[in-house]
Structure formats: structure tokens, C-alpha cells
């Protein structure tokens, strides 16, 4: 157990030591998104009755930050360790693959949550936010961070070079997070894109997360919960299997 705690501590310390890059920068990026989009669309777009577009946008931006940073944490840590060779320091000790998985994913959730909290802190004083069902906020933060953290573990282990990781991030993670209802309700999309968004698991994470704030969402939070929980379990099982077999780590 102490081995797991140490690995978790190391992973947290790793991003905390470069906090400007890993926390402050993504918070600033999210705030800039908010500034630009709310300034341009505040008067034109109204997704829900009695809810300003800026208010609608904030939870989506928070969740997007949680997800992207959770992915960035586990994936960049692993690929850096692999490329520099210091991954050996965590492969030689008696850590089980479950401890390995839990430490990397939990650290990813924490980084996502810290950045998400930063975005909330930067916006809550200027945007009217409600907290209709706060537990859903917590649940979807954990599940969303966990899913992207696990995806980060897969990508970090699979990629042999930074270029491959960037491809994974830009061609899979970014489209999934952008086409998920962060900036709009998927009901406003044409039928094809609407249908496509319905099979995007990130849509359910953001929709459920937003329900926690406003008590309103495109689908029931229970459906979103079921979809994200199942997706997390499947992904965790796949990642654990990959680690148990030593894929690319223990030739």
C-alpha cells in the first residue's frame, strides 16, 4: 500500500512542481475561451430558458479542462518516463499492475480536478452559477477524470514517441471533447451530428456534469451516469489487462 501511495505522491509532485505549465496555463486557456465565446455569443445564443449563455458555458469549460488535463497528466508522465528510460524506477519495485494503474489514474483525476477547480475559481465570481445537485458534479468529475486518465495510460504506454501521443491527443481526444456539447446543446445540431454526439461518451460526462449545476440537461443524469460508469469500467478493464500482460513495458 505504501508503494502505491508513493507512486501517487510522485505523480502529483511531478505536475505540481511545474504548476505554471500544468495548472495555471490550462486555467488561463479556459478563461480565454470563456471571454471570447461569451462576448461573441451571449446575445445570440440561449440554450435553456432563464439561463445566460455564459452560465451555460462555464460547466462545459470546467469539465473540458478536467478531461483534457487528466489525459495530459497520465499520458505525458508515461511517455516522458519511457523516452528518458526512468520508467525502470517504477518497474523494478514490487508494485502490482493494479497499484500502477490506480496511482496514475488517481493522479490524473487530481490534476483534472485541480485545473477544473481553478477554472471555477476564475469564473464563479463573475458568472451566475447554481448548484442544483452538487453530488453529480463530484461524481462526473471523478468518472470523467478517471476515463481520460485511463485513456492517458493507454496512450502513454502505446506511443513510442511524442509525435504519436500528439496524434492520439489531437485526432481522438480533442474532437471527442469539442464535439460533446461544451459550447452548445447537441439539440441545436443537425440530425447527423446530433446522432454522432449521442455515441460520444464525453457528451454524457459534460451533460451530467452540467446537470449538477443547473438541474437541467439534454438527457437524464442517470443515463449519463450509467453510460460513463460502464465506459469507465470497460476502459479500466482494458487498461488493467494491458498492464497485466506487460504490453510495451515488460517485453
Amino acid at each position: 500500500m505504501h508503494g502505491f501511495r508513493t507512486l501517487l505522491y510522485k505523480e502529483v509532485l511531478r505536475f505540481w512542481k511545474v504548476g505554471f505549465q500544468t495548472v495555471a496555463a490550462p486555467v488561463l486557456t479556459a478563461l480565454l475561451y470563456l471571454l471570447v465565446f461569451s462576448h461573441t455569443l451571449e446575445r445570440q445564443v440561449r440554450v435553456y430558458e432563464n439561463l445566460s449563455y455564459t452560465s451555460f458555458l462555464v460547466p462545459g469549460l470546467i469539465m473540458m479542462s478536467v478531461l483534457q488535463n487528466a489525459f495530459a497528466n497520465s499520458s505525458s508522465s508515461l511517455i516522458q518516463s519511457k523516452v528518458t528510460g526512468n520508467i525502470i524506477f517504477v518497474l523494478l519495485p514490487p508494485l502490482s499492475y493494479r497499484e500502477f494503474f490506480s496511482a496514475y489514474v488517481l493522479a490524473a483525476v487530481l490534476r483534472g480536478a485541480v485545473v477544473g477547480f481553478g477554472v471555477w475559481l476564475g469564473t464563479c465570481w463573475m458568472v451566475d452559477l447554481q448548484y442544483a445537485a452538487p453530488w453529480w458534479i463530484v461524481v462526473f468529475t471523478l468518472l470523467g477524470g478517471g476515463i481520460l486518465g485511463a485513456l492517458g495510460v493507454i496512450a502513454g504506454i502505446w506511443a513510442d514517441k511524442f509525435d504519436q501521443l500528439a496524434a492520439f491527443q489531437n485526432f481522438i481526444i480533442m474532437p471527442l471533447t469539442f464535439l460533446s456539447g461544451v459550447f452548445f446543446s447537441i439539440h441545436s445540431l443537425p440530425a447527423f451530428w446530433h446522432g454522432l454526439s449521442r455515441v460520444n461518451p464525453v457528451f454524457y460526462m459534460i451533460d451530467g456534469f452540467r446537470y449538477g449545476f443547473f438541474g437541467r440537461s439534454d438527457v437524464s443524469p442517470w443515463i449519463s451516469f450509467a453510460v460513463t460508469a460502464c465506459f469507465f469500467l470497460l476502459l479500466a478493464a482494458a487498461t488493467l489487462r494491458m498492464l497485466a500482460r506487460g504490453y510495451k513495458l515488460r517485453g
Binding site: 510522485k10 509532485l13 525502470i88
Partner: protein, 300 residues
């Protein structure tokens, strides 16, 4: 006999390359053991399999009686590995690195032992320096320290002195010798054969994934190498026929005569004197692990 390391029929293939082709090996507790062989012989693959970094296609490996796959936790607790590559985590200081490594092995409050290792490896003044700020030699010493944080009874050093200056090399060997005297089993791979000859009590030589020689260092030297007398004659002279038969000519007027014992030297000099030959220079060569290595690799 208590086996610190037991390797049975271990094979590993990477595509078309048979990295290990059925290796059997026992290292006794408390030994200073040398693992030699040319590049690509399979030394690092064998060490990696022992450390759980590589999964063998067949065969079993044990560290202090623990199977490295089924009982990996115990096997890894008993093993310290100094890797060949100079790797480090640039995010941390020397002390943080060692504390983290202790933690991975489940050890808390390890600072007393960490301080002791740092002192032995002359790293105390650098304890709070970032890993990036260290010279190559110091980084190498931190790798040794990392392998020792959990006080493993078996320590494997994979070419620890490659590219390391003489002073550090000597300091390192002094320290490793002390560890061996304190009861640690040491397994060493190196390309510096004179180091292996001086330090190792027993040696295994590997070629193309197999162990092709395994004996005590003394026996290997006796079997594959001998004393010899190197002579340079004045005016590029030729040896008398009786000596020429057993001598190897290495240059005009220069010969190497193998010796069964030092007693033969009197007869050789007498024969040269009788033939009216004068000696410009001579050198007495002792048995050498390099000769053994060359002989074994050529014969294997």
C-alpha cells in the same frame, strides 16, 4: 549451497533474434559473480528477465528462492539493479529520488540509511541538488544508491563503469567490495575484463544467448591461459630451432614463448646465450582474462 540466483532453461526471442537460448545458471549467496560476453550476447536480457523487465518465453528465474513472476514482490524486494543506461528523473533532487525509490519498496522513514549510502558514494554535498545538475559520474552513483535503498541481498550491476573516470571507478569498486564482504551477492557485467578478473570469484561467459563457459576465475585462467615470455632479439635475430618450434612470432625478431612454469626460463635464456643471441628486451606476461575470453569466444 544457498542459491541467490537460480536460472533454469531460460529462452527469449525477439523476432528473428534468439536473445537467450536456454540459459542455466546458479549464483551462490555471497558470491561476487561476473557475467561476461560480447555485445548482443544476452547479458542485459538475462538481467532484465531476472528483474522482471522482460518476460522469458520459457524457463524459470529465482532470486533468493522466489520466482520472479509468481512471487514477484518477494523476488524484487531481494534484488537491486543498477541499470546500464544513465537514466534519471529530472523533476526531483537526489534525496527526493531516493526517498521515492524507498517508498516504492514500501519503506518509510529511510533517511538514516539514505544518508549512509550518500556518504559512502560521496554524494552528501549533492543530496539536495536537482538530478539535472549532476555530472554523468554522479548520476551513475545515484543509480547505485537507488539500487541499494531497500538493502537488497542480491545486487546486479549492468556495466556500471562504462564511460566512468578512473577515480570514480575505483571508489565504486571499493564500495561494492565492501557490500560483498558484508554478505551481499554481487553480479557484475562489464567489458573491462581486468575488473572482472580482479573482483569476481566466478565467471560465466555468454555468447549468442548461451552460457559457453562457467567456472571460478582461477580455473578459467588456468584452463585457457598461461604465463608467457615475450622476447625481442637484437638485430631482428631468429630463435634457435628448438625454441622456434613452440614460439609464436609476432614481429621480426619478436617472439612469445608459452611457459608451463617459471622454471623453464633459465633453459630458454641459456639456449639463447648458447646460440650467441642477445636480448634487447623481454616481458613476462601473466595469465589474462582477455586471453581466456578470446579463446572461449573463438571456441564456442
Amino acid at each position: 549451497m544457498n542459491a541467490a540466483i537460480r536460472v533454469r532453461q531460460v529462452a527469449k526471442r525477439y523476432g528473428k533474434v534468439q536473445a537467450l537460448a536456454g540459459v542455466d545458471l546458479d549464483v551462490t549467496s555471497g558470491e561476487f559473480f561476473g557475467l561476461l560476453g560480447p555485445n548482443g550476447a544476452g547479458k542485459t536480457t538475462l538481467i532484465s528477465a531476472l528483474a522482471g523487465l522482460v518476460r522469458p518465453d520459457q524457463g524459470t528465474l529465482e532470486v533468493m528462492g522466489y520466482d520472479v513472476i509468481r512471487q514477484y514482490r518477494d523476488a524484487r524486494r531481494n534484488l537491486g539493479v543498477v541499470p546500464q543506461e544513465l537514466v534519471f528523473d529530472p523533476f526531483f533532487t537526489v534525496r527526493e529520488t531516493l526517498r521515492l525509490q524507498s517508498g516504492y519498496f514500501g519503506i518509510r522513514h529511510n533517511d538514516d540509511w539514505i544518508d549512509e549510502i550518500l556518504a559512502h558514494l560521496d554524494l552528501t554535498p549533492k543530496a539536495d541538488a536537482n538530478m539535472r545538475a549532476l555530472s554523468g559520474g554522479m548520476k551513475r552513483r545515484v543509480l547505485v544508491a537507488q539500487a541499494l535503498v531497500h538493502r537488497p541481498p542480491v545486487i546486479v550491476l549492468d556495466e556500471p563503469t562504462a564511460g566512468v573516470d578512473v577515480e570514480l571507478r575505483q571508489g565504486l569498486w571499493q564500495f561494492v567490495r565492501r557490500l560483498n564482504q558484508a554478505g551481499h551477492t554481487i553480479v557484475l557485467t562489464t567489458h573491462y575484463l581486468e575488473e572482472a578478473e580482479t573482483l569476481c570469484g566466478r565467471i560465466a561467459m555468454m555468447k549468442a544467448g548461451r552460457v559457453v563457459a562457467l567456472d571460478t576465475t582461477a580455473n578459467l585462467l588456468r584452463l585457457h591461459s598461461q604465463h608467457s615470455l615475450k622476447i625481442r632479439l637484437a638485430n631482428a635475430g631468429a630463435l634457435p630451432e628448438r625454441l622456434a618450434e613452440r614460439a609464436k612470432s609476432i614481429a621480426p625478431g619478436q617472439f612469445v614463448l608459452p611457459l608451463e612454469s617459471y622454471d623453464e626460463m633459465g633453459g630458454i635464456f641459456a639456449a639463447l646465450q648458447a646460440a650467441g643471441l642477445s636480448i634487447d628486451d623481454f616481458d613476462l606476461a601473466k595469465p589474462d582474462l582477455e586471453d581466456v575470453f578470446v579463446a572461449v569466444m573463438a571456441g564456442a
